[in-house]
Structures are given as structure tokens and as C-alpha cells.
């Protein structure tokens, strides 16, 4: 018995060792390959595209009088007139403007000085990806729920509309759907590219979620519905209080997979002028040529989003497991 346990431990230990070896092999292999193409890694260029410290100092060139303050979003243009009557302009962040009209400024005076963290293109892209994904997931759940219920309906109109919608969406590429939503639907209804992108993604996800929800509802024993109806509940009540809560618990894992797919698929809306994470990476790549570092970073950022989602779903699964 003791021997067996010892044996098992030894084998586990060996397996861990092999795992570490493989990982080291992979990393050094990647390193060697990039050496072969004589790539010069410049990881130090990446952080500034996530967060960077903006340093600014505005110094007056001449003695002058402030004639106007032109407030725009974020920045204020201070218009001054010097002794020769010439107009000069200074751009100052709006919250740092301490001047008012008719103030005198002297040559060499520091009008504003600042040092602040600003989000870089990658962080902005990450936030946009997050916004698009969250909105599309929420809208996709609503579309999927109603389509799934319609798909199960006994009357032909909702049933066949649902089947038609699901087949249409599943049978065409998402990229094409995004173009249609941007160029056709977007033109007709005058949608912004953000709205068009979110709509395309949620309509796409809705079709898949509908099938997941349908399967979930059908997996609930029909005795549950009969028991609910025999107590006098109507169909919507039975669905809302009895069937859907049980189905939801069961479809959580495939639903999570669908949400993760959606986050990744959101990279396609880059084609309609939305600078989400992937598009941001491409833009940085074209200006710096550090494609390797940029896209490794982009991949890692996607991984942060999808992994947090997985964790959230696992937490939900554990909570729902109470009645098992």
C-alpha cells in the first residue's frame, strides 16, 4: 500500500518534470527561431501603448493679453494678442486653465505644466473590445432567449422565422454579416459603426445562443412542465419560474464557450473602422514594425478578458450547484 502511494508520487513528480522541460523547450525554441530571422526584440516599446506618462509645459513666448478662451473637449485653446497685435494660440488641458480673458501674461511665464497618465492605443482598444463584447453578449442573450422560445413554439410562424434566422446566420460568415450591417443596414438606418458592429455581433451570437437555450429547455424533463402546469401556472410562468432557471444552470458551460467566442470574434469589427484591440495592434505594428511584441501583447490582453469570463462562469456554476 505504502509502496503504491510512493510509486504514484514518483510518477507524478516525473510528469511535472517533463512538463517543465516541454515548457522550457517551447520558450527557448521560440527564442531560437526569432534569432534565425534576426529579429530584434524591443519589448520596451510596448508599455507606452498601454499607459504612458504625458508631460507637458506651455510657456508664453511674448508679453500679451488673453483675448479669448476656446473650450473644446479636453483641451482649451487660449488666444492671446501680443504688443504688436498678433494673435497667438496656446493649447492647455481644460482643467489646468487658470487664465481668464483680459489677463496679462509675460514672456517666459509658465502657463501650465502637467504630468499625467494617459491610456495608450492598446488600452483604448481593450476597453472598446470590452464594451462591444459586453453589449453584444447582453443583446445576444435577449435575442437568443426569444428565438430559442420561438423555435420551440408549436405554431408555424414563430417556429419557422426562428429556424430561418438561425440557419441564415449560421450559414454565412460573420465577416460578411458585419459588412452587411455596416454598409447596408447601417446606411439605411444611419447607424454609427459602433452600433452596426454591436448589432452584427449580437445577431450572430443570438443565433447560436438560441440553439443552446433550445437544447437546454428540451433537456429539462417534461414532468417539470407538467407539474408546473398542473398547479395552475400558465406557460410563461412555468417557463420563467420552473424551466428556465433549471435550463440556465445546465447551459452555463456551453453559454460560456459562446461568450468567449464572441469576445474573440469581436476582433473582426476592426474592418468597419472600429479601433478595437486587434485593429489597435495592427496600427501600432504598421507604425513601429514591432509586430511580434505587439501581437503577443494583444493575445495576452484577450486572454485576460476570456480568462476572467471563465472564472466568473465557474463561480456561477459553483453557486448553482447548491441544489444538486
Amino acid at each position: 500500500m505504502k509502496d503504491l502511494v510512493h510509486n504514484q508520487r514518483f510518477r507524478n513528480g516525473a510528469s511535472w518534470f517533463v512538463l517543465v522541460l516541454i515548457l522550457i523547450g517551447l520558450v527557448s525554441g521560440t527564442f531560437q527561431t526569432t534569432k534565425k530571422v534576426e529579429y530584434i526584440w524591443r519589448w520596451e516599446k510596448i508599455p507606452r501603448y498601454i499607459l504612458f506618462l504625458e508631460k507637458g509645459k506651455v510657456v508664453a513666448k511674448d508679453d500679451a493679453v488673453v483675448t479669448a478662451l476656446d473650450k473644446k473637449v479636453g483641451m482649451t485653446t487660449v488666444v492671446v494678442s501680443n504688443s504688436r497685435g498678433e494673435q497667438q494660440y496656446y493649447m492647455i488641458p481644460e482643467d489646468l486653465v487658470s487664465l481668464s480673458v483680459n489677463d496679462q501674461i509675460r514672456s517666459g511665464q509658465v502657463l501650465a505644466q502637467w504630468q499625467r497618465w494617459k491610456s495608450g492605443l492598446l488600452l483604448k482598444g481593450l476597453i472598446l473590445t470590452l464594451e462591444i463584447s459586453v453589449l453584444s453578449i447582453l443583446l445576444g442573450i435577449v435575442i437568443g432567449l426569444f428565438t430559442g422560445l420561438a423555435r420551440l413554439s408549436k405554431s408555424p410562424a414563430p417556429k419557422w422565422l426562428a429556424i430561418g434566422y438561425i440557419e441564415l446566420i449560421r450559414g454565412t460568415p460573420l465577416l460578411v454579416q458585419i459588412y452587411i450591417f455596416y454598409f447596408f443596414v447601417g446606411q439605411v438606418f444611419r447607424l454609427s459603426s459602433f452600433t452596426a458592429g454591436v448589432l452584427a455581433l449580437s445577431v450572430f451570437a443570438g443565433a447560436y445562443i438560441a440553439e443552446i437555450i433550445r437544447a437546454g429547455i428540451q433537456s429539462i424533463h417534461k414532468g417539470q412542465m407538467e407539474a408546473a402546469r398542473s398547479l395552475g401556472m400558465n406557460y410563461p410562468q412555468a417557463m420563467q419560474y420552473i424551466i428556465l432557471p433549471q435550463a440556465f444552470k445546465r447551459i452555463l458551460p456551453p453559454l460560456a464557450g459562446q461568450f468567449i467566442s464572441l469576445i474573440k470574434d469581436s476582433s473582426l469589427v476592426g474592418v468597419i473602422a472600429l479601433v478595437e484591440l486587434t485593429r489597435a495592434g495592427r496600427e501600432i505594428g504598421t507604425s513601429t514594425f514591432n509586430y511580434f511584441e505587439v501581437f503577443f501583447t494583444v493575445a495576452a490582453l484577450y486572454l485576460i478578458l476570456t480568462f476572467s469570463l471563465s472564472m466568473m462562469v465557474q463561480y456561477l456554476e459553483r453557486r448553482f450547484a447548491a441544489s444538486d
Binding site: 407539474a227 402546469r229 395552475g232 401556472m233
Partner: protein, 243 residues
Amino acid sequence: MIDIKGVYKTFYSRHKVEALVDVSLQVEKGEVVVICGPSGSGKSTLLRCLNHLETIDRGDIVIDTIHLTDSRTNINKVRAEVGMVFQSFNLFAHMTVLENVSIAQIKVRKRSRSESEKIAIQLLQKVGIPEKAKSYPSQLSGGQQQRVAIARALAMQPKIMLFDEPTSALDPEMIGEVLDVMKTLAREGMTMCCVTHEMGFAREVADRIVFMDEGRIVEIGTPEELFNDPKEDRTRAFLAQIL
């Protein structure tokens, strides 16, 4: 209380199955009727027609002066007055016992949660498991689950209770506890229709026994008549097999 007149029901699955053929039966208020017969004789179908879980092809069913076949009938109102207990319990798996017994009171009877839970606790005491109120169905034995199912049906204060083979899915040692609850109900004057193979129960509490075979009612009689002196050969053959 229940008036079944010339009811026909045919299933078309792979084969054409005539589940009910010209079935007529009256059940008085406070009466306990046990329906028995071999499997596939249509007894469960008949019971399910009584609260419209199955629709009938022909004939009429009147529950407490309401015609089930009338398209203006609000079937949910009728169902609220007719409690049903299933062979497979069908407790709501995601809810505690207490929630199982109170949910329909809250959503259908529109009672407050506190009132519903009070009634639920009383009924759980009646069926003998108040200590399981916070448990989930999966944590209960079959007999306990079926008693909760009875409490859940009773919570609606129904005028009629239907039992569809309530003990068939139970281990033998748990059958007694469920039958005891049913006997108490019968003695309290509940109108009951029970599909069951428990002939001891039938002999003890049934006012009448209905014997069905191949979708037809073969014979109706008091327990003494049916057990001691069955008139039909098929009844005799069936009773000889199960007694």
C-alpha cells in the same frame, strides 16, 4: 364533482393507439375512486385528461360544473382546483422543499410569501417532514419527495386530487408512508382519483374501484364487489395476477 361522458382519445405515434374508448364515469364529492388495470389500459391517460394535460378527441369532461372542452374555459383556473401527484414526483429540482410548496401559492393564488410559507410549513407537518423545509429534492428519499409533492398539490387547496401511480417509483419500505398520507386525505373527505396497483389501499379506502383494459372501462364496483365477486373474466384474471 367529476363527470366524464363518452370520452375518446387516440394517440398517433408509430402505431395508432386507442388509449380511451367511450369512457364514462361520475365521481361524487368526497368520493375516493381507485382506477386499476394492466399497463397500457389507458388509466393514466384518463387521469391526465381530467386536468387537461392530455386533450380528448371526443366526448366531454365536466369538473365542478366547468366544461373542459369549452374553448372559453380558462384551463389554468381549473387546474388550480385539481391537484395532481405524479409517479416520478416531478419536484422542482432547483427549489428547496419550502419553495416547491409555496411557489404556486404565490404565483397562481397570489398569496404573500409569508402567508404561503406558513401554509407550506403546516402542510409539511401534515405529511410528516417539516424538518426538510430547507432541503433540496435531491437530498430527500423517494417517499419523502412524494410526500412533498402531495403537500405541494394540497397547498393550492384543491377540490379534487389526482394520483398517478404515486407509489410505483418507490422502494417497498417507503410505500407505506405515502399511502398513510393518502389515507388521511381520504378520511378528511377529499375527492380523490387514484391510479394505483396498491390493492390493500384500494380495499381500505376506495368507495369504488374502476377496472380498465384496452382503453375501456370493464367494470366498476365497490371493493367488496370487485375483490370478492368480479363479474368480468378479465377483471378476475387481472386480480388473480396481482393479488
